[in-house]
Amino acid sequence: MVPVRYNIRSLLVRKVTTFATAIGIALVVFVFAAAQMLGEGVNRALANSGRTDTVIVLRKGSDAELSSTLDGERLNMLRSNSAVASSAPGGGVIGESVLVITAELADGSGGISNVLLRGMPADGMKFRPEARIVSGRAPSPGTNEVIVGKSISGRFEGIAPGKTFEVRRNRPLLVVGEFETGGTSYQSEVWGDLDTIRASVGRESVVSSARVRLTSASAFEGYRAAMEADKRLNLKVMREDDYFKKASEQTSGFLAGMGMVIAILFSIAAMIGAAITMNGAVANRTREIGTLRALGFSRLAILTSFMLEAIFLSLIGAAIGLLFVQLLALVSFPTMNFQTFSEIVIRFAATPAIMISSTIFAVAMGLLGGLAPAIRAARISPVEAMRG
């Protein structure tokens, strides 16, 4: 083995070159990790939103709550099954009305986005034990009071505690508090009273969707079979977690997929950068390599030595990239839930798996970039190197 000291020295001597290359690799690692963190963030927001013991009922043919409608008769039908946990809040079944409203960004840019407004019955909040008020208070049932999810609170004109916004003329909704649901997509919604909200869109008699709490997660298949059996009811019954998972697949798949394609394209450039640097390292040390060969070091030892140097280089890059990508955890990123067209604000989420895969990615870049120069180094003949 050629002492590792030589490699470290070589990297240190050529500071500018080492630094430029490592930063190049760092940028690619940053993009690679950020894309995965974004996907993971979406997964956490959407996929974790659902529970396994809860089902969501939509009108058949609808993919999303937004385009679904259920009337009171169907809502009642949902209760008449022994699998329903009737002791749960709302008797185990709540019908909700969702509406996507256009809201103007509060940053003064004049930009607009869509926000999901959810009308729920009195027990709606209790039905979701993970939801809790973090400031202000819960809305009083039957009033025009609403609460805003913490992720979007203050992002839009009028949708912040103490402010009002209109869904129907002269019937302002008053924001009385902020709530949190542990980072899930609900946290990007506005919640209010079912009757107030559906009245304001002129759909007093119907809800968009229903949620049913089952006695246990295993009761799902039986319940679904029973509800979907009656073709006239035209119902679609899904586990709540599956419903959100499907929503997240589209969004996170799109984001992570795009990010990954970009990172892989980027890595071509970074790999060439590493190759240039390693080539330079070999050229600079032709004499030294010749000496080492003359001293009896094998070709393999030289090859290993340069591959190691390439790995060091990429590890430096990976370390810098991963260090800076941690800062993204402080950033929230507004993206679109493709199922509802509305905005969900997500956080970049780092996991050990992402850190590890990014490091492996960086090392792979270094190895690929360093391979040709290392082979070149190993093929240097001691005689020629000493002469030239």
Binding site: V28, R59, K60, N114, N234, L265, A269, A270, T335
Partner: protein, 390 residues
């Protein structure tokens, strides 16, 4: 010979390195162009909207409907030449072969007058006006469904239950390249008379208005909104561009992320160029000492190095533009436009202005990359440079 000869010849010194650097620059330019192309074409439908068309929708929500009688009110406003309306049908392929296409339920009498960039054969249009269950579909979608006029077409909807049977009456062709060629256009009255649309009976999704030559779209928008200001359902009227944009809402953030990412690739490119320059300058320090001794002033040395950097950037930029043209405009673009992604990208080509921008940026960043090594070399003392032998 002139001073440029030296800068040019220097590139041939380490051919491998020059080639790698040029390729890396070209790849960066290619990626930059590709990202900008996604961005530009994503916004193309938005940017390509007609200036004399304005859209009116429910003030509160893109999903809320307007009463049908609003159309008559709009048509009564002076300055309005034509107006039509449409509803979302949220069309789906019941067999799920075609992943995504648009379904619109529209007023058959006026739709194609307002949307005159969707061109339909007059005979087919006349037949459609007498066939309630008829649809006119985009040429690309007709290809995907493998249907021709006279065929049956079964479609389902995310909003209205069950399968919907239609008869294909005609094919519309786009007269501009950003017009979506994957839409199925059905008659609003056919939908409205169906019991499955009970909840939205006599309601319309949005109104699209054409305005006369000398009225401003801002004024007309205000006039329309003012008309409905005292009604239960207020409206918001905007340019067709803003209307198209409102469906992309939070997508803007993704596009912003794209923009950031395209800056990152430029950074990487700059680093690679700077690295190559730094290595070359380091190897040639002694030579710069000789030139200085002969009497070349520091600014000449500076010029040699920056010139070399610009030359590298130019070569990389040009190669990148050629690659972009071949890979995107000749290969990826035509493939995307005819594949399943066609709805997202009806037109996917890198416009010359994007290539020009990439070229300009490559040159600017090449200059930047050369500055630091050039400054260092120019500042070196002659005697120190001459003593340097590594």
């Amino acid at each position: 010979m002139n001073s440029a000869t030296y800068a040019r010849r220097n590139l041939s010194r380490r051919k491998g390195r020059t080639i790698l650097t040029v390729i890396a620059t070209a790849v960066a330019v290619l990626i930059f162009c590709a990202i900008r192309t996604v961005d530009v074409n994503f916004m193309a439908a938005v940017d390509d909207a007609m200036a004399d068309r304005i859209a009116t929708r429910h003030k509160v929500s893109i999903t809320m409907q307007l009463p049908k009688r609003y159309i008559d009110d709009v048509r009564g406003i002076p300055g309005v030449t034509k107006a039509t309306w449409g509803n979302w049908f949220d069309a789906k392929d019941p067999k799920e072969r075609i992943p995504f296409f648009q379904g619109l339920a529209v007023d058959h009498e006026s739709w194609f007058d307002v949307y005159d960039d969707m061109v339909v054969d007059p005979a087919q249009l006349a037949e459609w006006k007498t066939t309630p269950s008829g649809v006119i579909i985009g040429d690309k979608l007709a290809e995907l469904f493998q249907v021709k006029p006279g065929d049956k077409l079964t479609i389902s909807s995310g909003i209205y239950p069950g399968d919907w049977e239609f008869k294909v009456i005609g094919i519309y062709m786009p007269s501009r390249r950003t017009v979506d060629r994957n839409s199925v256009i059905l008659r609003w009255d056919f939908l409205n008379n169906d019991p499955r649309a009970e909840l939205v009976k006599d309601q319309i999704g949005w109104i699209l208005t054409r305005i006369g030559g000398n009225s401003s779209s801002a004024e007309m928008s205000r006039a329309i909104d003012k008309l409905f200001d005292e009604r239960d359902d207020q409206t918001v009227t905007m340019s067709e561009r803003a209307f198209n944009l409102s469906f992309m809402g939070a997508f803007a953030a993704v596009l912003t992320a794209f923009d950031l990412v395209s800056i990152v690739i430029l950074l990487i490119m700059t680093l690679i160029l700077a690295n190559t320059l730094a290595m070359s300058v380091r190897e040639r320090t002694n030579e710069y000492g000789v030139l200085r001794a002969i009497g070349f002033p520091p600014k000449s040395i500076f010029g040699f190095i920056v010139g070399e950097s610009l030359l590298l950037a130019t070569l990389g930029g040009l190669l990148g533009c050629v690659l972009t043209y071949v890979l995107i405009n000749l290969m990826l673009g035509p493939w995307l436009e005819s594949g399943p992604m066609a709805t997202m990208f009806p037109y996917f080509r890198t416009p010359p202005r994007v290539m020009a921008l990439a070229m300009g940026l490559a040159l600017a960043l090449g200059l930047l990359a050369g500055l630091l090594p050039a400054r260092r070399a120019a500042k070196l003392k002659v005697t120190d440079a001459l003593r340097r032998v590594d």
